[in-house]
């Protein structure tokens, strides 16, 4: 639950992490649209360029203070270099603020045709442990072991969030995705915890599905998932949420929220797209839809609905789309069109 307070001008202050690559471009577009909708928000720019604290990747204190004070942040993509010393900054952010659940809805966009119609999936990913524990060792030369960590505590927390979220959005089915046939103890713990939590929500139908079957069925036909909330350990959530994004047309269209007990950070699922950075080609829709999720979380439902309507109308009309959606519009032209619809 959002517990931010308005400032003296009657606005909520929101921390803004513009991010790398295309981040600044898409952040600008989103700020303009949100301003045009007369949303009571003041942005507080936040620099999260990582520092090393006692040899560990950390976020500058000023950024931590800003986000803790405001309780909410909107974040552009942060690049995660392969094979360099730093731990992923995305990961560091999730750990710093204990953002234990990653919420990723995917909805087909009218006007943007893909081989899949009427997709409306809701996926919740455990965000703090699992395969992302970062515990790895070279036990002998050429032999690496990577530890996947599953705890009852973290599992319980994300599972309870899933059931609560199902209530919030009016779905009465929760399905856990796992691979307990192979990882009998670790995924087994997640699955057994799910069964226990499910007993606390008797009005919600609960079941479980093996990761292979989810991949198979969702790719065959995603529509049967439209009445469910899916919840799963970290890596499976990473993979399946991108799969869902693929069903509706790619990363340029999917939002996400990183939810914690105190703080929530809303972000686009896609990366920093260094290949098109600075060229005004980036699609800001994912960050925009993330900001709409954020507005709803903050109780600003009116503005959220207005922006959503204008966005979907612009996409459906198909005249001012960015390159990734087969259009020719620049980031700004697309944003301007949304603003004129507002």
């Amino acid at each position: 639950k959002f517990e931010g307070v308005k400032n003296s001008q009657g606005n909520y202050t929101v921390s803004l992490i513009e991010g790398d690559g295309i981040g600044p471009e898409i952040s600008d577009a989103v700020k303009n649209i949100i301003a045009a909708a007369k949303t009571p928000i003041t942005w507080e720019p936040c620099d999260v360029t990582p520092i090393l604290k006692n040899g560990k990747t950390a976020i500058p204190d000023a950024a931590i203070e800003s986000i803790e004070r405001n309780k909410v942040a909107l974040k552009g993509p942060l690049a995660t270099p392969i094979g360099k010393g730093h731990v992923s900054l995305n990961l560091t952010l999730r750990r710093t603020f204990n953002l234990f659940a990653n919420l990723r809805p995917c909805v087909s966009i009218a006007g943007y045709k893909t081989p899949y119609d009427n997709v409306d999936t809701v996926l919740i990913r455990e965000n703090t442990e699992g395969e992302y524990s970062g515990i790895e060792h070279e036990v002998a030369s050429g032999v690496v072991q990577s530890i996947k960590l599953i705890t009852r505590e973290a599992s319980e927390r994300v599972l309870r969030f899933a059931f609560q979220h199902a209530d919030t959005i009016g779905r009465n089915k929760v399905r856990v995705v796992h691979k307990a046939s192979i990882m009998k103890l670790s995924d087994g713990l997640f699955l057994n915890t799910a069964r226990e939590i499910a007993a606390e929500y008797p009005h919600i139908e609960f079941d479980a599905e093996l990761l292979d079957n989810t991949c198979l069925r969702m790719t065959t036909d995603p529509v049967p998932y439209n009445d469910k909330v899916l919840v799963m350990p970290n890596l499976y959530g990473d993979i399946l949420s991108d799969l869902c994004a693929g069903l509706i047309g790619g990363l340029g269209l999917t939002p996400s929220g990183n939810m914690g007990d105190e703080v929530s950070i809303f972000e686009a699922v896609h990366g920093s797209a260094p290949d098109i950075a600075g060229q005004k080609k980036a699609n800001p829709t994912a960050l925009l839809l993330s900001s709409i999720m954020m507005l709803r979380h903050m109780g600003l439902t009116e503005q959220a609905a207005a922006i959503e309507k204008a966005t979907f109308a612009t996409l459906a009309e198909g005249k001012f789309l960015t390159g990734d959606l087969g259009g020719k519009a620049s980031t700004d032209e697309y944003a301007q069109r949304i603003i004129s619809k507002l």
């Binding site: 995660t80 392969i82 094979g83 992923s88 990961l91 893909t114 081989p115 899949y116 395969e131 992302y132 970062g134 790895e136 060792h137 070279e138 030369s141 050429g142 032999v143 690496v144 072991q145 990577s146 530890i147 996947k148 960590l149 599953i150 705890t151 009852r152 505590e153 691979k179 307990a180 046939s181 192979i182 990882m183 009998k184 103890l185 670790s186 995924d187 087994g188 713990l189 699955l191 990761l211 292979d212 079957n213 991949c215 198979l216 069925r217 969702m218 790719t219 065959t220 990473d238 993979i239 399946l240 949420s241 991108d242 799969l243 994004a245 693929g246 069903l247 047309g249 790619g250 990363l251």
Partner: protein, 346 residues
């Protein structure tokens, strides 16, 4: 690898493990079609099972011994219960060191799916990774599961993938990993792949993180050619891939060691829900059998059976339920027998 299967009286002896679920039904279909084709195969059938009622270590050991002797097998899927011992499917791969699992994901001519032009091969490391089975509960409520990646196996599977690509006129090999997060383990897999790639020329070599690959697979699968992956990501991608071309009932595959080859559907599902209902699609098992015939150099027999199977599917009149038809396994098999006569006359 160099396989030297056993040939006696003009016939190859092949270990046949129908497996659980729909295994018996689709194996019956294969036996019927191979008999009609007069393929020189002598089946050595093993009733290995993993369902709680019929799981038996001695039957499992028999099948391992049979495969060790014959060097070649055709296998359905063993059911892996969630609670219970380590999977027989996994144990068998480890016991025989069949380290490469191959799924052939390709549109079937005349059978329309959401995407056309899909033709990719997923080559999956089969002996380590997340399937190591090493797990422990350090304190109550805290479980650690070990994923093991070794340079040796990573190099071996990469070499297999490049050799496969060369031998099959493929153009591109893509390594799938999550090295941005699992920097040491997947990092090792990725760097082994790239170092092995240096020994091969004429192929496009690249890599992609597994989440992006999954997204690309449902969006633009035509971009993929040969994929090489650690264990778990191969499981994920072969299921996504199978769904693109018609499901687990149509995707063939094989498992290769240095001197043993086991042919098996490329998207491993037991199909308990349709067991004994005469509904299963035997195509995946039949096409796996076709791959096996080619492996033995029996190309004429392989061609006839393949043409008959594809012919029946292209006609579109006798299809099993998973392909949108109403035919039973037996009816579909009978249609293939009829078609076999036609292709032999043509």
């Amino acid at each position: 690898g160099a396989v030297s299967p056993v040939k006696t009286g003009g016939k190859y002896t092949v270990t046949l493990i129908p497996g659980d679920g729909i295994g018996a039904e689709v194996a019956e279909s294969v036996k019927t079609v191979f008999r009609a084709e007069n393929a020189p195969i002598q089946w050595e059938e093993m009733a290995t099972s993993e369902t709680p009622a019929s799981r038996s270590d001695s039957l499992f050991n028999d099948s391992v011994n049979s495969l060790t002797r014959n060097k070649i097998g055709l296998k359905g899927i063993l059911h892996t219960p969630i609670s219970g011992d380590v999977s027989f499917n996994v144990a068998m791969r480890q016991a025989l060191d069949i380290y490469a699992s191959v799924s052939m994901i390709r549109n079937i001519p005349g059978y329309k799916t959401r995407h056309d032009g899909v033709d990719m091969v997923i080559i999956r490391e089969n002996t380590e990774g997340e399937y190591s089975g090493l797990e422990h509960q350090s304190v109550p409520g805290v479980v650690e599961s070990l994923k093991i990646i070794t340079r040796k196996q990573s190099e071996r599977i990469s070499r297999f993938a490049f050799d496969f690509a060369k031998a099959n006129n493929r153009k591109k090999v893509t390594c799938i990993h999550k090295a941005n997060i699992m920097k040491l383990s997947d990092g090792l897999f990725r760097s082994a792949f790239h170092s092995i790639s240096k020994g091969y020329s004429g192929l496009t070599v690249d890599d992609m993180i597994v989440d992006n690959a999954s997204m690309q697979c449902v969006g633009r699968p035509q971009q993929f050619d040969v994929l090489v992956t650690p264990n778990l990501y191969g499981n994920v991608l072969s299921n996504i891939g199978a769904a693109l071309v018609g499901g687990p009932g149509v995707v063939p595959g094989c498992n290769m060691g240095d001197d043993i080859a086991i042919f098996e559907p490329g998207c491993r599902h037991v199909g308990l829900d349709i067991q004994g209902k005469d509904q299963a699609n035997p195509t995946a098992m039949l096409l796996s059998g076709v791959l096996m015939l080619r492996h033995l150099g029996l190309h004429d027999h392989a061609d006839y059976i393949e043409k008959a199977v594809y012919g029946v599917i292209a006609d579109g009149k006798t299809l099993t339920r998973d392909m949108g038809g109403e035919a039973s396994t037996v009816e579909f098999t009978r249609a293939i027998l009829d078609k076999l006569e036609v292709v032999h006359k043509a």
